[in-house]
Each structure stands twice: as structure tokens, then as C-alpha cells.
């Protein structure tokens, strides 16, 4: 589903990748581990076309990522970055902003669904009306994750989604991921030994 093939990338002074390859198959659950600064988030950025490797190819759903395919590829991926920015309004506004994008208008994503998802992700029910600026980093990530789920994408790329969460909230995130269905593909950047039932991709 996602393939990084013979990737070389240097950012500034740091050589992040030199002929590096990995792949995630359709329906697979993968955890990506590595020391900080090893390029874990950069893998996601490359899959989304925000960072271009110096050499090598990125393929998503069988197609190489190019200027022409990048738009469609992005619409197959749900991405929860480590630091989530959702504008300066409320969660409700952030939700409506995303739903209003032309590409998402065919989706049927209602406020009720959003509220239900936030609740399943162990967020208090008032979260929906709260200004994003009042939310913690972990709460914002879960809001972004809820939006991502409602977009019904095939691939989920989550960047340390549970790093800031207590065990209860972590379990909630995990449950929602487990319920996504066997045809969805999930790659999660994790610290430590959590979620060892996911196949590991290690970065050195």
C-alpha cells in the first residue's frame, strides 16, 4: 500500500536515509520505531509529498508519487501529525472547515458522528464546543484523528498519537483503530514497546 524504495535524503547536514527501503502492505498494521531525529515523521511527509527524497521513489496504492498523483494520493491518506494545528476557532469550526472542502462534500460526516467519535476517543463531551487553543496536544491529536476517521481514508499515518495520553485514552485510540476494518492500512510512530502486535519497522 505504501512503499519507500531506495530512498536517499539529506536534510541540511543530516543524512537521514541512504538507499533505504520499506513497505507496508494493504490491511497491515505497522509501528515505526527509531531514535528521535531518525526520520520517522519524514517517512510520512514523503508519503504525503511534503518532502521529496533526493533519490528513490515513494509509491502509494501502487502508483508512484508525482506532481500529478500527489493530490489523489493525499486523499487516500489520513494523517495525524505530532503537532496538530486546527486553526483558531472551536473544534466544531475545525470540523466544519474540513468537511466543507470541495473534495469532502460527497462524504456524509455529521456533527453527531463527530461528537460520537470524540466520545469514543475518551474526550469530554464539551470538547466539541471548545476553542482548539484550550486543548492539550494529546487532545488536539485525537480531534485530528476523529476528523481523519470521518474522512474514511484507506491509509492511516499517525505520528506518536498516544505519546501524551494516559492508559485509558491510549486504549480508546487503539480501540478505534482496531475497529477501522481489515482493509485499512495503519502505520503508527511509537516510542517504547507499546503495541507489539504491530509489525515493526525500525529506523536507525
Amino acid at each position: 500500500m505504501i512503499e519507500w524504495r531506495d530512498i536517499s535524503l539529506q536534510l541540511g547536514e543530516t543524512r537521514l536515509f541512504a538507499g533505504w527501503s520499506a513497505r507496508v502492505s494493504k490491511g497491515e498494521r505497522v509501528r515505526i520505531r527509531g531514535r528521535s531525529g531518525a526520520g520517522k515523521s519524514t517517512l510520512f511527509q514523503m508519503a504525503l509529498g511534503f518532502v521529496e527524497p533526493d533519490a528513490g521513489t515513494v509509491r502509494v496504492a501502487g502508483r508512484p508519487l508525482t506532481d500529478d498523483t500527489v493530490g489523489e494520493i493525499r486523499r487516500q491518506i489520513a494523517w495525524v501529525p505530532q503537532t496538530v494545528e486546527l486553526g483558531d476557532g472551536t473544534v466544531r469550526q475545525a470540523f466544519h472547515d474540513v468537511v466543507a472542502f470541495r473534495a469532502n462534500q460527497a462524504l456524509d460526516a455529521s456533527e453527531a458522528q463527530m461528537r460520537a467519535l470524540l466520545e469514543r476517543l475518551a474526550l469530554p463531551s464539551k470538547t466539541f464546543e471548545q476553542p482548539v487553543s484550550q486543548l492539550s496536544g494529546g487532545e488536539r491529536q485525537r480531534v485530528a484523528f476523529a476528523i481523519a476517521v470521518l474522512l474514511r481514508r484507506e491509509i492511516y499515518l499517525l505520528d506518536e498519537p498516544v505519546a501524551a495520553l494516559d492508559p485509558h485514552a491510549t486504549a480508546a485510540v487503539r480501540r478505534v483503530l482496531d475497529d477501522l476494518g481489515p482493509e485499512t492500512t495503519v502505520a503508527v510512530i511509537l516510542h517504547g514497546d507499546d503495541w507489539d502486535d504491530y509489525r515493526e519497522i525500525a529506523l536507525t
Binding site: 506532481d67 493525499r74 489520513a78 501529525p81 496538530v84 472542502f101 470541495r102 485530528a144
Partner: protein, 264 residues
């Protein structure tokens, strides 16, 4: 009785220039390191205004519509170039969009003012086209500098939200909307503040000049209002257009800010 200001002789002008010794002295005393800039700015201003006096005299005397229009286009080019330079963007890439974004609203509004508001017989009359045009351009230029600097800087430095919106299916324009909004707001705010305090804190230069030259305050004020509405309209549309057209050349097909845009 002659109500207008006394004619200025060369000696009087020299006496006015002598005032510059005060900021010069302050710069040296406070070690601001601006002595050179003050000297250069003073010299440039004197020379540019002297030249302006000269060309305006001829433009007014000849009063050829095509020449007036051509002169205005030249002024627009200078304003667009200065906007690119001062926002530290690559002018080779940005001049085109900034020029169009400045020219279209400026020409439309100055024509509207001359034809509909002032009801001139000759719409492209030098006195009005060049003078009013210049006032519209100066303010639009300042607005563009604020807007373009903020917009491209935040598209590069705070790419997080922008990238997240792209990943959520937004088109480039949809993803940039909050950035457009903030940049436009920032560009409009100083002029809005000016409008709020006009007549209380500041008497604008144009009005002061008119009154010094003998016009009645009421006439001067009416003209000032016309100008303020015109400036505000051109400023707003100019900034909106600059951001839109500028982002058409400032981003690559993957929606990333082109690094080359910052190579001034």
C-alpha cells in the same frame, strides 16, 4: 486678500532641510547607526521630489491622455517592484503578479473616481490621474509589503496547519484560506486605524497641502474623503489579488512554497 501660504524660496527650503540635523544628531548620539541611511534618504527624497516637480510640470502642461496613462503604468511598476523588494521576495517571479494585482484595481478605481465622482470631462487628465493614482499606489504598496511578507513567511515557517488541511483533501486555495485571511487583515489594519483617527490624530498630507495652498477646509475635506474611500478599495483588492496571484507562482504543484521565492 491672498489666503495661500507664502511662496517658498530656496533659502526657506534650506532652513527646512536644516531640521534633519536633529535626527542626524540623535542617530549619532544614540549610536543608532542610521546616519548613512538618513543622509541617503534625505538626498533621495530631495532629488526625487525635485524630479517629480519637473515632470509633473510637463505632464500637466502637455496633458496627453496616453502619456498620463503611460506615466501611471510606470508608477505602478515601481510600486510593484518596491513591494517585492521590501517583502524580500524574488522580484523576477513576483513582479508580474504584483504588477497585475496593483494595476487592475488602481486603474479601475482612479477611472471611477475621475469619471463618476469628480465627473471630469477628460478622465485621464494629468492633474487627477497621476496625483490620485500616486496616492492609491503608495498605500497599496505598503499593504502589499505587509501582506506578502506575512503570507509567505508563515506559509514556510508555520506549514503545519496548511499541510494538515492539504492532507484533509483541501485544494491549495482552500488550504491557504486562513493564511490569506490573516495576511489581508494585517495589511488592512494600519489603514483602518488611520481612518479611525483621521481628523483627530492626523490631518493627512493631501488635505494639509490643499489648505496651505489656499483651498477652503470644507473642500479639502471632501476631497480627502473621496481619496480615503478610493485608497481603501484599491488597498483591499490589491492585497487580495497579490496574495492570490502571488501564490499561483509561489507554490509548486505539490503545494509546497517554492524556496526560490525567497531568493531576493
Amino acid at each position: 486678500m491672498n489666503a495661500s501660504a507664502p511662496e517658498l524660496g530656496w533659502l526657506s527650503l534650506l532652513a527646512a532641510i536644516a531640521l534633519i540635523a536633529v535626527p542626524l544628531g540623535a542617530s549619532s548620539r544614540l549610536r543608532l547607526g542610521l546616519g548613512r541611511s538618513i543622509a541617503v534618504a534625505t538626498a533621495r527624497m530631495v532629488v526625487q521630489l525635485a524630479l517629480a516637480g519637473l515632470y509633473l510640470r510637463y505632464l500637466f502642461a502637455w496633458n496627453l491622455p496616453w502619456l498620463n496613462l503611460g506615466w501611471l503604468l510606470l508608477m505602478i511598476t515601481a510600486a510593484a517592484l518596491s513591494a517585492c523588494r521590501n517583502s524580500e521576495l524574488a522580484w523576477r517571479t513576483m513582479l508580474g503578479p504584483t504588477f497585475v494585482a496593483t494595476a487592475v484595481p488602481a486603474l479601475l478605481v482612479v477611472t471611477y473616481v475621475n469619471a463618476v465622482v469628480l465627473r471630469l470631462d477628460q478622465v485621464f487628465e494629468a492633474r487627477y490621474l497621476v496625483v490620485i493614482g500616486g496616492m492609491l499606489l503608495g498605500n497599496t504598496m505598503s499593504g502589499n509589503i505587509i501582506a506578502l511578507t506575512h503570507f509567505f513567511h508563515s506559509a514556510k515557517a508555520d506549514a503545519g496547519g496548511y499541510h494538515f488541511r492539504l492532507a484533509c483533501g483541501a485544494t491549495r486555495t482552500e488550504a491557504l484560506r486562513p493564511l490569506y485571511r490573516e495576511a489581508t487583515r494585517r495589511a488592512m489594519r494600519p489603514f483602518l486605524a488611520t481612518m479611525m483617527t483621521l481628523g483627530i490624530v492626523s490631518l493627512p498630507g493631501m488635505m494639509t497641502g490643499q489648505m496651505l495652498a489656499g483651498a477652503s477646509p470644507v473642500d479639502a475635506i471632501k476631497y480627502q474623503m473621496v481619496i480615503m474611500f478610493a485608497i481603501f478599495t484599491v488597498l483591499t483588492t490589491g492585497v487580495v489579488l497579490s496574495l492570490r496571484l502571488g501564490s499561483a507562482v509561489g507554490f509548486d504543484r505539490r503545494g509546497r512554497v517554492r524556496g526560490s521565492i525567497f531568493e531576493a
